[in-house]
Amino acid sequence: MTEQKQPEIKFVEGIVPDAVEDVVYRMCPMHLMRLEERMKELKKGQILELQTDYEGALVDIPDWCRKTGNELIGVEDTGEFFKFYIKKTVD
């Protein structure tokens, strides 16, 4: 059995999103629930900025992107919370 490799996270700056979702201080799994809801509203090619302070999101969100086929552009660390940039690549 091969060990599953953790997706590598690219740290980025200056991405301009089409929509912003703030779940800072909201408890897990709100980051995944809101991510799923907001991505449904976006059109293919649009970018969501999801803000969360939950460190587990560094594992969950890349995992969610891998499972759904959407693209994780990267993460910005503000020092207080993370900004995840997710591009809708599948309908």
Binding site: Y25, R26, M27
Partner: protein, 384 residues
């Protein structure tokens, strides 16, 4: 025995309509609202309906309502949650000396964690000093919390003015509206507050449920950690029946707001009659006060003794904030207003409800002078 309940600041009776709305959720509709099957979704729908009713009472949006276990929890969540969420901007927070213990102790807990807390003084009417706020607030102040109306003396605070001053400095504003809601119109937009606490059991709803209004877009650090309940802001399986009862109580409170003038008229009759007794003084502001609130200092009569003696006549009044009056002889609120300790022990609080009748007030006025007279006869302080 004829019974007159005039302690509506401590709690109100549960409205029958609120009880009727709650019962299905204590019986057959017992599902967990987080479950997506029908038993769960009917509980979830009932919660969301209640959220709309509570929001309507204070002119908020349903998404701005977080249900809690009490007004005290709402105060704690607002104070600790907003202070923590804004800690990077500053660690100076402001409140007043006459807040409810749930507010004062939440601020004291922050003090222990290194925050600088300013407790604003009040004048002899129990009004928070706006001038003192102006001189205490800085660019590093993150939160100002002042109650809308005081439980013990009924005085209304200039919350709108306070919000204006606080917002100019970039501070958030919380107000404890537990004593006010249901007794006067409360509008979060008109007050321009960022957070506001409510409790169901002081507006004819059940005990064990409260709510925090939190302005849309604001971040708050939770007090109780769990999962997705209350949009990830307050953990724990919801008190479905309690929340449903709160929703109905909020609907009824809005409907009955037109009864305020009748209550005020009865309250004024009560004040007039009580003040006819020798050496009795009204506490709090004579006009800027809750319409159902009458509070007095009855010289040389211990507040607790008066409360008990009146209860033997079937009359129920208060002698201080319900949770502290048992342990503290002198009211800290009256002390903050400048009353000497001996007089601050002689507090009598009459708070009317929408069911209070003219007959009730006449009964109270027929008994009050005799009860006071009797207590003064045995009081070592009375020099009548």
């Amino acid at each position: 025995m004829f019974r007159v309940y005039l302690d509506h600041m401590a709690t109100t009776p549960l409205d029958r309509e609120a009880l009727a709305a709650m019962l299905p959720f204590l019986e057959n509709s017992f599902g967990n609202p987080s479950r997506i099957y029908d038993l769960g979704s009917e509980a979830k729908e009932a919660i969301e309906h209640a959220r709309e009713s509570v929001a309507r009472l204070i002119n908020a949006s349903p998404g701005e309502i977080i249900f809690t276990s009490s007004g005290a929890e709402a105060n704690n969540l607002a104070i600790r949650g907003l202070a923590k969420a804004n800690e990077r901007r500053g660690m100076h927070v402001i409140t007043s000396e006459i807040e409810h213990h749930s507010t004062l102790n939440a601020f004291r807990s922050l003090q222990k964690e290194g925050y600088v807390v300013t407790f604003l003084p009040v004048n002899s009417y129990g009004e928070v000093s706006v001038e003192k706020l102006e001189s205490a607030i800085t660019d590093r102040t993150t939160l100002v919390s002042v109650m809308l109306a005081n439980y013990e003396v009924g005085t209304l605070q200039a919350v709108k003015e306070i919000a204006e001053i606080a917002h100019e400095k970039g501070a958030l504003v919380h107000t404890d509206a537990v004593a006010a809601a249901g007794n006067i119109p409360v509008d979060v937009r008109a007050l321009d507050v960022d957070a506001l606490s409510l409790s169901a059991h002081t507006m004819y709803g059940p005990k064990g449920v409260g709510a925090l209004y939190l302005r849309e877009g604001l971040r708050i650090v939770p007090l109780i950690y769990s999962g997705i309940q209350e949009e990830g802001r307050r953990g724990g399986t919801e008190n479905v029946a309690g929340i449903v009862g709160f929703g109905k109580a909020a609907e009824l409170a809005l409907k009955h707001l037109d009864k305020v003038e009748r209550v005020r008229w009865l309250r004024d009759k009560l004040i007039e009659g009580v003040l006819e007794v020798e050496k009795v003084e009204l506490t709090g502001h004579p006009e800027k006060r809750l319409p159902n609130h009458a509070s007095f200092i009855v010289e040389s009569v211990d507040g607790e003794a008066l409360m008990m003696a009146l209860s033997f006549e079937g009359i129920y009044i208060g002698n201080g904030t319900a949770c502290i009056s048992q342990v503290l002889r002198a009211s800290p609120i009256l002390l903050a207003m400048g009353y000497p300790a001996q007089r601050a022990q002689c507090s009598a609080i009459f708070t009317l409800g929408r069911e209070t009748s003219k007959r009730d007030i006449e009964y109270v006025l027929s008994k009050f002078p005799g009860v006071v007279e009797k207590l003064r006869q045995i009081s070592p302080l009375w020099k009548g």
